[in-house]
């Protein structure tokens, strides 16, 4: 009971404090957009009389909602069959399919409208993944498989990482460079998927399944699904202080305006304190686990930074990180990391929309969300006809194509794969 109360208080403080300013996005967004339009008109880059397109910008490409909707069905289908690749595909839609990438690029490097449209693409991706993550994270929270100290350590890293990266890159990165980095992430995912489809990868998987079968009988008779988590060791006080300090850093960065060095120092202090928390020990299903507090903290920084920079959910990175690097059982990291993703996304969207005043086209997000859930109903009905291995191969090809295209377009200025 005491455990869940601590977790609840911690969660409410982080989400409550960070979510509230998210709701105040409108005035800043409107100002920044009209400023960028005015500048474009003054410099002769925007025709005042042209028909309004994306975000109401005169002369911008009018986003075709039907294409957006159909693309989202495809994204939903991927989410429900292969998984994580869906977030990447949502990004591909915003950059390429809707023609926003080329429009932003035409303004030239460093131009306000280029930065605004680039940031809007990132925030649109985050709304798409983050909003849905909210509901599913709540479901995992209800399942009660949470290790509060683990969640706190991840959040200490994640909260700092997800404001620092938008702060360091928003408005400073052009769409061209963003394309290149996005391409690297897609290619990396493609390589991971490819390794799973090779003979060695398949053999490893077969071996794992055989090992699993050996423990099947015990699993059936185990009947211990109700055993929960029991914390044996861990400094709560230090963890709460560290979390409070990084939350304060995010708030300072987003609301205080001047003296940004205070926010940087606060984030570093919060992260530094985690090194003094030491080892956290707990039992789960009667088995003892332990981890150094700074490991999930460092993972949290890296993953939240990457997720918020690319505008994709970090969930697909948290779970493999904690199961592979920290060696924790899947069930423990699943719900916990889901919540950290949510917190990270809130801070990140908030940083872009309030701190940096980035607008979003709501109608498009609505049409896309509708497409995604329709796709999620189609996925389970088609996946039984397509073997897993072939689905993976399909996405390996797609990931290599999209990755190479974006990397070359971003860093060389032209694509080495068609269309050039």
């Amino acid at each position: 009971m005491k455990e869940s109360l601590k977790w609840f208080v911690c969660l409410m403080v982080v989400i409550g404090v960070l979510a509230t300013p998210l709701l105040m996005a409108t005035p800043a967004s409107a100002d920044k957009l009209s400023e960028a339009i005015e500048q474009g008109i003054t410099d002769g880059k925007i025709d005042k009389k042209a028909a309004p397109g994306f975000l109401g910008i005169p002369g911008a490409p009018a986003v075709n909602y039907i294409i957006g909707f159909l693309w989202a069905i495809w994204v939903g289908w991927i989410f429900s069959t292969v998984g994580a690749f869906g977030g990447i595909m949502a990004g591909v839609g915003h950059i390429t399919i809707f023609g926003l990438g080329d429009y932003a690029k035409d303004f030239g490097k460093g131009y306000p409208m280029n930065k605004l449209v680039t940031d809007s693409i990132r925030v649109s991706n985050q709304w798409l993944v983050g909003l849905s993550g909210l509901i599913s994270s709540t479901n995992y929270y209800r399942m009660g498989r949470l290790v509060a100290p683990l969640g706190m350590c991840l959040a200490i890293g994640g909260v700092g990482g997800s404001w620092l990266v938008p702060d360091l890159t928003a408005g400073k990165i052009s769409l061209k460079a963003y394309l290149g980095y996005f391409g690297i992430a897609v290619l990396a995912l493609g390589i991971i998927l490819f390794r799973e489809t090779t003979k060695a990868g398949q053999a490893k998987r077969k071996k794992a399944k055989e090992a699993a079968a050996a423990f099947e009988k015990e699993a059936k008779t185990g009947g211990e699904s109700k055993q929960g988590v029991k914390i044996l060791e861990g400094s709560w006080t230090l963890m709460f202080i560290a979390l409070g300090v990084v939350v304060a850093s995010a708030l300072w960065a987003n609301l205080a305006g001047g003296a940004r060095w205070v926010a940087y120092i606060l984030a570093i202090i919060g992260w530094g304190l985690t090194f003094f928390v030491g080892t956290i020990r707990f039992t789960f299903f009667g088995v003892e686990f332990k981890f150094k507090a700074f490991i999930p903290m460092l993972g949290g920084i890296f993953i939240a930074a990457l997720a918020s920079f690319l505008g994709v959910g970090g969930g697909f990175l948290y779970v493999p990180f904690l199961t592979s690097v920290a060696g924790l059982p899947m069930f423990l990291v699943a719900g916990t990391s889901g919540l950290v993703v949510l917190v990270g996304m809130i801070v990140s969207i908030f940083s872009y929309m309030v701190g940096k005043g980035v607008p979003v086209q709501w109608g498009l997000i609505g049409a896309e969300l509708a497409g995604i859930f329709i796709g999620s109903m189609i996925g389970p009905r088609t996946s039984k006809y397509i073997p897993d291995i072939w689905l993976k191969r399909l996405f390996v090809v797609l990931a290599f194509y999209v990755g190479i295209r974006y990397i070359t377009k971003g860093f060389l200025g032209y694509s080495i794969v068609p269309p050039f």
């Binding site: 409108t26 909602y65 039907i66 090992a211 050996a214 423990f215 969930g315 059982p329 709501w362 969300l369």
Partner: protein, 167 residues
């Protein structure tokens, strides 16, 4: 005109009506926005119920697979077979990924009306400012419709969750 804007304009008269019920525009704003939040929540709840019904057996399968792999990995760990634990944990992780992203995609069924409601509010109230009692840094003296609507939406979702809908 795109179909989303067309849809929003088609239901405009239905959505704006409650705003005009009372003579006082401030009271009208609160009543109208509250009713909009109710519509948004109910539509989301209805859609997610339909999607869950459609995908019920598949969700059950993915969750069962996840639980089975988890139990197997814990048994391997208890038996002291660290290598088997790591291998099975990877399978469990994969099963979790499938279940998680399926539910992420399905969750959008519950949320799709929210951005559409925000789009309608943007169309109707983007030029309206709501004064704040204090001047906040970066925010200023006033806020827009999002500041009012999202807390109301969350409140309505919480209130509606108290009612049990028979399935």
């Amino acid at each position: 005109m795109d179909f989303v804007s067309g849809l929003i304009e088609a239901i405009d008269s239905l959505l704006i009506a409650p705003y005009r019920w009372p003579k006082n525009p401030v009271i009208g704003w609160w009543i109208g926005t509250f009713i909009l939040a109710v519509w948004t929540s109910l539509l989301g709840k209805l859609t997610i119920a339909l999607v869950f019904r459609a995908n019920r057996s598949h969700i059950k399968e993915t969750v069962q697979e996840m639980s089975r792999r988890h139990s197997q990995s814990m048994n391997a760990l208890r038996a002291g077979d660290r290598a088997a634990y790591k291998a099975i944990n990877k399978l469990a992780n994969e099963a979790f990924g499938k279940s998680f992203f399926l539910q992420v995609a399905m969750a959008s069924a519950s949320l799709w009306p929210l951005p559409l409601a925000l789009a309608w509010l943007q169309m109707r109230f983007s030029s309206v400012d709501f004064p704040l009692p204090v001047n906040l840094p970066l925010i200023g003296k006033s806020v827009g419709y999002v500041f009012i609507f999202i807390p109301l939406y969350i409140l309505v979702r919480i209130l509606l969750s108290k009612f049990k809908f028979s399935r």
